[in-house]
C-alpha cells in the first residue's frame, strides 16, 4: 500500500533535518501508531505520505504510484487520503453536515446523495442529532468526530491522524479511537495515528517510535 524508500526532508536550506533516511512499508488495512518526542519528525512524515509536502530526497509509493510523478496532488489527496489534525480545523460558519460535505465538492455525484452520505457518516460518529449544529455549539470531542466524518467523506484508502486526541479528554479520546479502529476494521482502511499518549499508541497493531527523524525501534511487529 505505502512504500517509503530512503526518505529525507530538510528545512531551512538543510539546517533542519526533519527526516533522515526513512524506510517503511505499510500493508493495506494496517493500523500503525507513531510515537516519539516533540520535533522527532512525526508530523513531517505524515505530511509526506499525505502529499502535503514534497520530500528533499527519497521516494514514496502509494499503490505502486510514485508520488513524485503525480501531477495533480489535490486530486490524489481527495481520492486517497483522509486527514485528521490535532485541532479539528472545522469551518466555523458551516454546520457539522456542511463541513463534512466540503471534501465532496471534488467528487462526482448528486447533491442529494452527498447530503445523505454526510448524514450517514455523522450518524456513525454518534452525531446524528448534531448534523445542523455549528462547531461553536459542540464539545471538543464532538468537533473532532465531525472532523473524522469529514476525513471519510471521499472513502479514503489511508487515514492520517496527527494527534487526533491531543485536544480532548481521555474519555472522548477513547471514543475517537474506537471509531477510527472500527473503520480500520470494517472498511480495511489503512490507519496511521501519531500520538504522544502511550495508552493510545499501544492500541495499534504496529507501533513505531521516532527519534531525530529516524525510526528508533519497532516493537511487536
Amino acid at each position: 500500500m505505502v512504500q517509503i524508500k530512503n526518505l529525507s526532508k530538510e528545512f531551512e536550506e538543510g539546517r533542519v533535518k526533519a527526516l533522515n533516511g526513512i524506510n517503511l512499508t505499510i500493508k493495506e488495512g494496517e493500523y500503525i501508531s507513531i510515537m516519539g518526542p516533540s520535533g522527532s519528525g512525526k508530523s513531517t512524515l505524515l505530511n509526506m505520505i499525505g502529499a502535503l509536502d514534497r520530500p528533499t530526497s527519497g521516494e514514496i509509493f502509494i499503490n505502486k504510484h510514485n508520488l513524485a510523478d503525480v501531477k495533480n496532488l489535490a486530486k490524489f489527496r481527495s481520492k486517497t487520503i483522509g486527514f485528521i489534525f490535532q485541532l479539528h480545523n472545522l469551518i466555523p460558519t458551516l454546520t457539522a453536515k456542511e463541513n463534512v460535505l466540503i471534501p465532496m465538492f471534488e467528487a462526482r455525484g448528486k447533491g442529494k446523495d452527498k447530503k445523505k452520505k454526510a448524514e450517514v457518516l455523522l450518524k456513525k460518529m454518534n452525531l446524528g442529532k448534531r448534523t445542523d449544529f455549528m462547531p461553536t455549539k459542540m464539545s471538543g470531542g464532538e468537533r473532532q468526530r465531525v472532523a473524522i466524518a469529514r476525513s471519510l467523506a471521499n472513502n479514503p484508502k489511508i487515514i492520517l491522524a496527527d494527534e487526533p486526541t491531543g485536544d480532548v479528554d481521555s474519555k472522548s479520546g477513547a471514543m475517537i479511537m474506537d471509531i477510527l479502529e472500527e473503520i480500520n476494521n470494517k472498511e480495511k482502511t489503512t490507519l496511521i495515528v501519531v500520538t504522544h499518549d502511550p495508552v493510545i499508541g499501544a492500541r495499534a497493531h504496529r507501533k513505531l517510535k521516532m527519534l531525530d527523524g529516524r525510526f528508533q525501534e519497532e516493537a511487536n511487529s
Binding site: 502535503l52 495533480n72 489535490a74 489527496r77 481527495s78 489534525f85 480545523n89 458551516l94 466540503i102
Partner: protein, 374 residues
C-alpha cells in the same frame, strides 16, 4: 450544499465589511449611471434640436463659440447662406435666457411665425403668435405644466407682460421648457437686431446635403459650421465635450476607489482564512476551486453593488428631476439598458480585477504552510 451557498456564507461572516465593500462599489456605479443618464439625454436632446426634428436637414451655427447662446450669425451671413444654390428654405432661431419664477435658466426663443413648422415647433393648443404682435408668446408644453400657464394667461418676462396664445411641443425638454415669441421681438429685446443664434437649413431635392453643408463652411471662411451629426456639435459648444470627459473621469475614479476597497476586503478575508484554506487544500480541493471561491465572492459583492448602484443612480436623477430647472433641461430615459450596461461592465471588471489578486494569492498558498499559520 451548493458552491453558491458556501460563497454566501463566507460573505456573511463579516457582514459590516461586506456591506462596506458593496457600498464602495455601489457609489461608483451610481455615479456612472447618474452621469450617463444625464449625458445620454443631453446628447439626444442636442441631436433632436440640431439635426433630427422639424423639416430642416441640418443646423448652421457660428464656429468656435463656447456656447450656442453666444453663437451670433449676422445678417450678411444669413443672406449668404440663403442665396446659395440648393437652399430651399431656412429659419433663424434666437435663444436667450431670462430669469423666471426662481429659475435663472428659463429659455426664451425667437422664431418667425411661418418658420415654426420648419423649426420643428408643433402647436398642440391655441394658435401661433402674429409676427407683428409685440405682446404675444406661445409656451412650451413642459413649461405650461410646470408653471401652470394656460392659453389666455399672462406671463411676465423681462418686466414685460405677454399673453399666451398657444402651447407648443418640439419633443426636446429644453425647448419645451421655455417660451417662444416672434423673432423680431426677441431680437429687439436682446439688442441683437438682424442676428440669430442658429439657422435651420432645408436643402432642395436633388442636392447633396453634405456638399452644401461643406460649401457653407468654405464660403464663410470657416466662420460658420454646419451641424450634420452630433460630432459636429463640438465646434459650437465645448461644454458637452468637457462634460463627457468629466463624466468618464469621475466614473473611472469612483470605480478605482471602489475596486481598491473590494480588493482590500478580499485580501483581509483571505489572510484571516489562511488556515481554513489550508484545510480545504488538505481535504483535496484543487487550486482552481480555491481561486474560483474567492473570485465568486468578489463577483457577488460586485453583483449586489450593481443592483444597488443602478437603483441609487437612477433614483438620484429622479430626485433631481423634481427641480424645475432640471425638468426644463432633461427628460432622462430610465429604461434604456445601455445606460446601465456601461456601469455593469465596469463593475464586473472591477470585481474581477479586485478579486483576482486575492484569489490568486489564496490559491497559491502551500497547504502545509497554510495549516501551520497562526
Amino acid at each position: 450544499m451548493r458552491f453558491f451557498l458556501l460563497i454566501l456564507k463566507n460573505l456573511s461572516r463579516h457582514k459590516t465589511r461586506t456591506v462596506l465593500a458593496v457600498v464602495g462599489i455601489s457609489i461608483g456605479i451610481a455615479t456612472i449611471v447618474a452621469l450617463n443618464l444625464v449625458m445620454e439625454n443631453a446628447s439626444k436632446m442636442i441631436e433632436d434640436t440640431f439635426i433630427k426634428q422639424g423639416d430642416f436637414d441640418f443646423t448652421v451655427a457660428k464656429a468656435g463659440s463656447a456656447d450656442v447662446i453666444v453663437s451670433y450669425i449676422k445678417e450678411e451671413q444669413i443672406n449668404m447662406v440663403n442665396e446659395m444654390p440648393g437652399i430651399q428654405d431656412s429659419a433663424g432661431l434666437l435663444i436667450y435666457m431670462v430669469p423666471f419664477n426662481n429659475n435663472p435658466y428659463f429659455f426664451s426663443f425667437g422664431l418667425k411665425k411661418e418658420k415654426l413648422e420648419l423649426g420643428g415647433v408643433n402647436l398642440i393648443e391655441g394658435r401661433a403668435f402674429e409676427d407683428d404682435a409685440e405682446d404675444e408668446v406661445i409656451i412650451g408644453k413642459v413649461a405650461s405644466k410646470n408653471y401652470d400657464k394656460k392659453i389666455g394667461d399672462t406671463i411676465n418676462l423681462n418686466e414685460n407682460d405677454y399673453e399666451i396664445v398657444g402651447i407648443y411641443e418640439t419633443g426636446t425638454a429644453f425647448q419645451d421648457g421655455g417660451t417662444m415669441m416672434p423673432l423680431a421681438n426677441a431680437q429687439k429685446l436682446q439688442d441683437l437686431e438682424d442676428t440669430v443664434n442658429l439657422l435651420f437649413v432645408k436643402i432642395a431635392e436633388n442636392y447633396n446635403v453634405e456638399e452644401i453643408a461643406q460649401m457653407i463652411e468654405d464660403d464663410s471662411n470657416e466662420e460658420l459650421v454646419s451641424i450634420i451629426d452630433i460630432d459636429d456639435f463640438d465646434a459650437v459648444d465645448q461644454g458637452i465635450k468637457i462634460m463627457d470627459a468629466g463624466t468618464w473621469m469621475i466614473g473611472i475614479l469612483a470605480i478605482i476607489i471602489g475596486g481598491i476597497g473590494v480588493m482590500n476586503t478580499m485580501v483581509m478575508s483571505v489572510s484571516e482564512r489562511t488556515r481554513e484554506i489550508g484545510v480545504l487544500r488538505a481535504v483535496g480541493w484543487k487550486k482552481s476551486r480555491v481561486l474560483l471561491m474567492i473570485l465568486c465572492e468578489t463577483l457577488l459583492i460586485a453583483l449586489i453593488a450593481i443592483i444597488i448602484g443602478c437603483g441609487m443612480g437612477a433614483g438620484a436623477v429622479r430626485l433631481l428631476m423634481f427641480s424645475d430647472i432640471a425638468e426644463g433641461f432633461l427628460n432622462p430615459s430610465y429604461f434604456e439598458y445601455t445606460t446601465y450596461l456601461k456601469a455593469i461592465i465596469v463593475a464586473v471588471l472591477v470585481g474581477m480585477v479586485g478579486g483576482l489578486y486575492p484569489a490568486w494569492k489564496a490559491s497559491r498558498l502551500s497547504p502545509l504552510e497554510a495549516l501551520r499559520y497562526e
